[in-house]
């Protein structure tokens, strides 16, 4: 984020204009069809040159357009490679005290800058993946236990 000079603040707040509603819905449908078909898209310039839209960018575009088409405001936040405890807590949808507990018991690695804790974003993503795995396993176990109850699954 250093090479391009821009007047845009790093955290952008966006909302659709009133006359954009129709185009947004049309674009949203197009994006949905595209992502179902092949997980990547193409951006076609008026002069015919095409650039590939990778799956991650396509997903980002979909999320933005979906929100805008519903009349919601969108805020885009870019994260560096190191996060404060509050940023990490927000990303994981947990409270800051709970995140600090995860740092203190060693569940997520951290280091200190002066007296402040910092968390690497890679470690946050790794924890998020582990958590998703555990959730999936526990839910499957819960379903299995439910099916074993007398009277069956009801």
């Amino acid at each position: 984020m250093t090479s391009t000079a821009t007047t845009e603040p790093p955290d952008s707040l966006l909302r659709a204009a009133a006359d954009e509603a129709e185009a947004l819905v049309a674009l949203l449908n197009q994006l949905a069809a595209l992502s179902q078909e092949r997980q990547a898209g193409q951006l076609l310039a008026p002069d015919g040159t095409a650039a590939e839209i990778p799956a991650t960018a396509l997903r980002a575009l979909q999320l933005i357009v979906r929100g805008l088409s519903r009349g919601q405001a969108i805020s885009l936040v870019t994260h560096g490679t190191e996060l404060t405890t509050q940023e990490a807590a927000d990303l994981l949808h947990v409270s800051r005290p709970y995140l600090v507990k995860l740092l203190d018991d060693g569940t997520i690695d951290h280091y200190k800058v002066g007296t402040h804790r910092r968390v690497r974003i890679d470690d946050v993503f790794a924890y998020r993946e582990r958590r998703a795995g555990t959730r999936g396993e526990k839910l499957n176990e819960l379903t299995r236990l439910s099916e074993e109850l007398p009277g069956g699954y009801r």
Partner: protein, 63 residues
């Protein structure tokens, strides 16, 4: 940011409903919350109804 929802015993007790709501929460469509009190109610009722034995392993759900 997805919205938050408290799942009460009334929706956690019926198994298909519980499963569905938790599986939706798993996709992070919303943030799920409950309390110790709610969990106790969820565990107590199947025992009271005779659907679950008293000492079932894994019978007390944790987060």
């Amino acid at each position: 940011m997805p919205f938050a929802a408290v799942l009460d015993a009334s929706v956690l007790y019926p198994l298909p409903l519980r499963d569905t709501l938790l599986r939706i929460a798993e996709t992070e469509l919303y943030d799920v919350y409950w309390s110790e009190h709610i969990l106790h109610e969820v565990v107590r009722n199947p025992i009271a109804d005779g659907r679950a034995p008293q000492s079932r392993p894994g019978g007390s759900p944790t987060r």
